[in-house]
């Protein structure tokens, strides 16, 4: 990729200079020009009001991309079940395959896992490659990437999708390096580009503050890891038929490169660090009694967030001071702050006003918190919070 500035369109407004994080563009003599520090990140492109900065996508033409066909989903299993993220990818993969007029195929590695293949067909796969061997009973980088790299080189899928779980990210990045593919991590959007039949991958960057759209012009397959809970899970259709191909492999434990010594299923007790948390649900005096913090905790758990508290509740002994948000508590700046039964006195605001999004739930319409809330709900929190928790649970499970 290259960036160039169309001099005839440049008005030297200097917005690109402000936006560039690397001092990669400067304005001199009434014109913007790229400096040595330009890192081709592309942020200036969208900021230019006259569209004077363009991205050029050179085409080398060394790869015959027409040889690569098919959308693949690499399945991840856990405790004998297909993981939700894989199922979501089958749903999205089906749509992409239909648009590309090709097959949706899944790759399943495991041991005594045949029965899962049929499930994947029900979720939309036209074909499932099954590799059954004790060496791949549980995910390990070495055996999985070796087997799958071989399959990819043999069958040449155009697109390969992996769920962006820790195991999926471990596998995807190793695999992409092995086969020289382009991999886009942690996608929140997958579409077929309207200008060329390429996979358009949308993902957050800079801590989620900006979104980037990525293309992989020539390298094949186009690989993407996708965040779980982004795409909807498809409904299983038991009447669907598909081919199940058992791939014979000769795997040797000695070539595995690593050994799993122990698996510990500890529930991380939902202890999310308050100061670093991106989502915080906080409770205030409106909760009326200490046991009602359970409502706050449940909502926080569903959102994967931390639990915060107003000073009043801490002083009243309803929750420990480590949860206190405010002038004399902790200062937080999460993406989302949900204030439940908190009036929003200035000393509380001092601790959370720099949150990106603030949701306030309070029965008092004149509570100061509503002046700062992005979304305000005036009403009975004892009805609203359980309903919200249930609705979110429902939508996330879908």
């Amino acid at each position: 990729m290259a960036l160039s500035i169309k001099q005839e369109l440049c008005t030297a407004c200097g917005l690109c200079v402000k936006v560039c994080p690397y001092e990669g563009v400067a304005v001199e003599d009434g014109m913007a020009y790229l400096t040595e520090r330009c890192n081709f990140c592309g942020q200036c492109v969208s900021s230019c009001p006259t569209d004077a900065i363009v991205i050029e996508l050179p085409r080398k033409g060394t790869v015959d991309t027409s040889l690569w066909k098919g959308v693949w989903v690499l399945a991840e299993t856990d405790e004998g079940k297909i993981k939700g993220g894989t199922i979501e990818l089958l749903g999205r993969g089906r749509a992409l395959a239909d648009e590309r007029h090709c097959a949706l195929e899944a790759v399943l590695l495991g041991h005594d896992c045949d029965y899962l293949a049929g499930e994947m067909v029900a979720f939309g796969a036209d074909k499932v490659y099954v590799i059954d061997d004790p060496v791949v009973e549980r995910y390990r980088t070495g055996p999985f990437s070796a087997v799958i790299a071989g399959l990819i080189n043999e069958h040449k899928p155009e697109i390969v999708l992996i769920s962006a779980t820790p195991q999926g990210r471990d596998l995807g990045s190793r695999l992409a390096a092995r086969i020289g593919a382009g991999l886009t991590a942690d996608c929140t959007g997958l579409d077929i580009w309207d200008q060329e039949p390429l996979l358009l991958q949308t993902r957050p960057a800079f801590g989620g503050n900006i979104m980037a759209r990525i293309l992989c012009r020539e390298a094949r397959p186009q690989m993407a890891t996708v965040r779980p809970n982004v795409f909807k899970k498809p409904q299983p259709d038991g009447s669907r038929t598909g081919e199940i191909v058992r791939v014979p492999v000769h795997l040797d434990e000695r070539g595995a490169m690593s050994k799993i010594v122990e698996v510990i299923r500890e529930s991380k007790d939902g202890q999310v660090n308050l100061v670093d948390a991106q989502i915080i649900v906080s409770g205030g005096r409106g909760l009326q009694a200490p046991e009602n913090f359970a409502l706050v905790r449940r909502l926080a758990a569903v959102l994967g967030g931390a639990v915060g508290a107003s000073r009043a509740t801490v002083d009243a002994g309803w929750i420990s001071a480590t949860h206190q948000v405010g002038q004399t508590g902790k200062t937080v700046s999460p993406k989302l702050y949900v204030a439940v039964g908190i009036s929003g006195q200035i000393q509380h605001l001092a601790g959370m006003s720099s949150s990106d999004y603030i949701v306030a739930i309070n029965r008092d319409a004149s509570a100061p918190i509503f002046e700062h809330a992005t979304f305000g709900l005036v009403g009975n929190l004892f009805e609203i919070v359980p309903a919200l928790t249930a609705e979110l649970e429902k939508r996330l499970a879908e």
Partner: protein, 378 residues
């Protein structure tokens, strides 16, 4: 005239800034309220080589200068006033040894003070010798190869936690300043005990205790600067102490201003943030100007000291001005925060109580004015 720090100084300041923002400031309220000496913070300073910034490397220090020490002191005070106060008082034990210590005294006492292994204190003030520093009555008598001291010191910062004490005694109590002699004492010397802590208007976690000398022994080798030369030791130490007080005051003022600024941008009255009102804007503007002046005076005094030039006048000016600025700024900061500023919910009332210390300790504002007047009229 170069008003910029050089790269080494800036590197140190950047590191101290990070420490302040990430560790000291978040628990400053706790440190103050605990009523206990901030050992954790001091140990951190020691770990990071911050306890002997201007002390030569051969004596365990960083080998930098007093300007850096002053700038670091301002940052520490700004983040946590108690820690800043301990930091400033600690130098009062190091400095006289740097100036007057024998090689042996430097090796034995200056090194552990500079590595932060031990804390230091400076004992001059007595119940009847405050501004009248020459009225020191703690008697000192040479007996064999020791000196025996009898008397009491009060309000001594770091006393009790410190292990090394610079004590000003008097070998001729009836002849005033002429007999004053400086001694080095260690915690635990026979006859030397630490008395009660004062309950003060602020700084509950900063020890200010009595030193009690009842036939207290110190070896002859612990005379600092020579017999009957103690007045000189005391006065020169106080010169540096003035800068130390100045930097503490600047830190307090800076912290108060920052709270006032932040509050003014959030507090809404009459349909807008109060930062839109000129009454508030003028207060904030005045704060900024005064704090900057105080800072520059402190920096100048420290710089002159580093250049080996006379700095006593500028040190007195810095201390006088910075301490009065701290009072004015903290007072106005409470005013800006209004009712909330008067509560313990916000730190400005504490800062205002803390600010008062700097107008009194280490030479009251009245004494500073005398010092300055003497300079200009001599």
């Amino acid at each position: 005239m170069d008003f910029e720090f050089n790269e080494d100084q800036q590197a140190v300041l950047d590191a101290v800034r990070e420490l302040c923002v990430e560790e000291l400031r978040p628990k400053a309220e706790e440190t103050d309220a605990s009523g206990e000496f901030p050992w954790e913070n001091i140990r951190k300073l020691a770990e990071l080589d911050l306890c002997g910034i201007p002390v030569p490397e051969e004596y365990g220090g960083l080998g930098m200068d007093f300007l850096t020490w002053a700038a670091v002191g301002m940052e520490l005070s700004r983040a946590c006033t108690t820690t800043g106060a301990v930091f400033g008082a600690h130098m009062l034990a190091q400095y006289p040894i740097m100036l007057f210590g024998t090689e042996e005294q430097k090796r034995k006492y200056l090194v552990p003070l500079s590595t932060g292994e031990k804390i230091g204190a400076f004992g001059l003030t007595e119940p009847n010798a405050g501004s009248d520093a020459g009225n020191v009555k703690t008697s000192a008598v040479r007996v064999g190869d020791e000196y025996i001291l009898n008397g009491t010191k009060i309000f001594i910062t770091n006393a009790g936690e410190a292990e090394t004490y610079i004590v000003i005694g008097n070998m001729q109590p009836d002849r005033g300043a002429r007999g004053m002699t400086a001694f080095i004492f260690e915690k635990g010397f026979e006859g030397f005990t630490i008395g009660k802590n004062e309950k003060k208007m602020a700084f509950p976690s900063l020890p200010n205790r009595e030193l009690i000398f009842q036939d207290a022994h110190t070896p002859a080798g612990n005379v600092l600067g020579g017999e009957k030369r103690g007045f000189r030791v005391a006065m020169q130490t106080l010169d540096l102490g003035r800068i130390g007080m100045g930097i503490g005051a600047v830190g307090v003022a800076q912290a108060a201003y920052e709270h006032a600024l932040a509050y003014s941008k959030q507090r809404v009255q009459f349909g807008q943030t109060i930062s839109n009102f000129q009454a508030i804007q003028f207060k904030l503007a005045d704060m900024v100007v005064e704090i900057e002046c105080a800072r520059l005076l402190c920096n100048q005094a420290a710089w002159l000291k580093d250049q080996g030039k006379p700095f006593e006048l500028q040190a007195a000016m810095a201390k006088l001005y910075a301490s009065e600025v701290a009072m004015r700024v903290t007072n106005q900061a409470v005013q800006v925060l209004g009712g909330y500023g008067y509560t313990k919910e916000f730190p400005v009332e504490r800062l205002m109580r803390e600010a008062k210390l700097f107008e009194i300790v280490e030479g009251t504002s009245e004494i500073q004015r005398l010092v300055i007047a003497n300079h200009i009229l001599k």
